[in-house]
Amino acid sequence: MNTDTQYLHEVAESDYEHGWSTDIVSDTIPKGLNEDVIRLISSKKNDPDWMLENRLRAFRHWEKLAADTDKYPRWAHLQYPEINFDEISYYSAPGSKPRYESLDEVDPELIKTFEALGIPLEEQKVLAGVAVDAVIDSVSVATTFKEELAKLGIIFCSFTEAIENHGDLVRKHMGSVVPHTDNFYAALNAAVFSDGSFCYIPPGVRCPMELSTYFRINQAGTGQFERTLIVAEEGSYVSYLEGCTAPRRDEHQLHAAVVEIIAHKDAEVKYSTIQNWYPGDNEGKGGVFNFVTKRGICEGTGSKISWTQLETGSAITWKYPSVILKGDHSIGEFYSVAFTKGRQQADTGTKMLHIGRNTSSSIISKGISAGRSNNSYRGLVRINKGAENARNFTQCDSMLLGDRCGAHTFPYLEIQNPTAQVEHEATTSKVGEDQMFYCQQRGISEQDAIKLLVSGFCQEILAKLPMEFAVEARKLLAIELEGSVG
């Protein structure tokens, strides 16, 4: 190797830009998890009785799973210390007042936090035309644009508000795609979740703007457990964006979210994520453990759910946004770029479950590994017996920056119907020295050349992100690649 090595080293060790924390007074409950804690969270949230019942049911299920450490999910290609669930505080809210009626009531420090994150709410209200719901630690802080959306019958609010004002809708759909029995972290989330976002698009309505949520873990020693529920009625359309960051902390922080999407007949939901949780330092100290269950169901004929994600953060990423293709002619898509460096580990991919007839799914996954990181794609394509004429196309490309990192692919195919057409392509490449030489011979610096080549590698995924998100994604990738030399 030549000078690449030095730069790649710097890339691999570059710094986290969102690693500050905000000094705001917060209401954090004592660490540990038991039934009393669940009841405390429930009372802080003013839950109706049915919600408390749901939480307790989920908690009892989780308790059973947690009692036997052998039952912890360990199949992922990830190595991390056992999480001590008694060392986490399961609820933290900024300030003593759990919710805000307007931005004026919000702690100015908190507003500064959002500004530092590049999401000045006020400005975004006016300029960007993006409706933002921001969740810091566990509580939704402000949701912009609510009124404009309400005129179209669109509901976009925090999960807490949704339970309060649209209880029937929430009760009907919550847990219908990801039941609390689904997995260890889904059970934990269903028990302790404290807020999140809810989105409802009525029949025939095309949501005129991108709906956006920002998540941030601020308080030390807290976990963040949010839920997102999106219901798209017949013939509706919505594009939903999610972004996340966390301050730099020496201890690990746990994030276990659940996202559920329901798409009815001819509805389309596009869900985009930029995940930039604190990844820990280069020796693997600190960083967010990100255990997330995301799943959508194409309930109706001709419905479509599309997941696009840019994963650059977290010490551990365990995440498989999936689609259940129940409706005939329904479409599921998963487009992913996962970038790992330092000691980061990502095990991410998707599940496409084909049930209806003439369903189709596309999976394009791009993994980039630098430093001593490990990056795995894990995907399941299942074609059920009755799923006539199902189609799937899967493409997994991995790029290695340097020679101390790893890329892995774990594709699973279960095909029970002979009419299925399934394609799988996989490549692994190194940033070619010949490519670097070519760029540099044109006057492009080593750093810029790597950025150019990596963003070229991800191009087809980044192109699928909504415009303003794509700009952000490119910037983020560039920052991630920047190296400590700047």
């Binding site: 540099q440 011979q441 492009i444 070229g456």
Partner: protein, 253 residues
């Protein structure tokens, strides 16, 4: 006359195998030098060493470029200082848009020269003008760099980049190889339009054919890692007639 390049006793090897065994060559502003020679004689090695390819080890000698030590400079620094290599086998850059690539290249060079970076519109205008010079299909600019280009398109694209970057020293490494006669003519035509009083060319070629279109001021023959003969364009014609064996036989004699 202003000297651009002064090569003195240049020796280089690849994987411990000596290839260049002492090259001496001077290129002045406005001159076109053709470097000819049989396969394996070290022609392309010379081009690679001048561009700074780290696959090659410099074992001795000096290279002065505009009065500076070229061998001390990094690859990208050489490029920004005005050394351009048209590759024998241009590299494909999947997903990297040609315009974005050009923008970065042109603006790094401009910045180095203390010029204002070009905006998207100015760059497009410039690209359109330069593409016309070498009859480059403008649709190629929509694609990823060199990806899915035919051999001829790749070579034209190299000359197009040369035109965009306006180097002081342009090295063409077997640009004529794999070109059909029409492509050869338009590439040569492009190069002729780019000949200026300030710019020097080093044209590496195996065949005399290209020199019918780009008439050189000097022709040098490399054999066994040394320049064994220098002359004017007549030398190329003689080589065409008598073959490289003739030079080698003369050397042995």
């Amino acid at each position: 006359m202003k000297s651009i390049l002064e090569i003195r006793g240049l020796k280089a090897s690849v994987e411990d195998m000596p290839i260049l065994r002492g090259i001496d060559l001077t290129v002045n502003a406005g001159e076109v030098h053709a470097i000819m020679g049989p396969n394996g004689s070290g022609k392309s090695t010379l081009a690679s060493v001048l561009a700074g390819n780290e696959d090659y080890e410099v074992d001795g000698g000096t290279v002065e470029y505009l009065g500076k030590d070229l061998l001390e400079m990094d690859v990208d620094e050489r490029a920004r200082e005005g050394v351009f290599l048209a590759f024998q086998y241009p590299i494909e850059l999947p997903g990297v848009s040609t315009m974005n690539f050009l923008k970065q290249a042109v603006n790094s060079v401009r910045e180095h020269r203390g010029q204002k970076p070009l905006g998207a519109a100015e760059l497009l205008r410039l690209a359109k003008e330069k593409a016309a010079l070498i009859e480059l299909d403008t649709r190629l600019k929509q694609r990823s760099v060199n990806q899915g280009f035919s051999g001829g398109e790749k070579k034209r694209n190299e000359i197009f980049q040369l035109a965009m970057l306006e180097p002081t020293l342009a090295i063409l490494d077997e640009t004529d190889s794999g070109l059909d006669i029409d492509a050869l003519r338009s590439v040569a035509n492009g190069v002729n339009l780019l000949r200026t009083q300030e710019r020097g060319f080093l044209i590496i070629t195996h065949y005399q054919r290209l020199l019918n279109y780009i008439v050189p001021d000097f022709v040098h023959v490399i054999a066994g890692g040394r320049i064994v003969r220098s002359g004017d364009k007549e030398l190329a014609l003689e080589l065409e007639k008598r073959g490289y064996d003739w030079v080698q036989e003369e050397l042995a004699a």
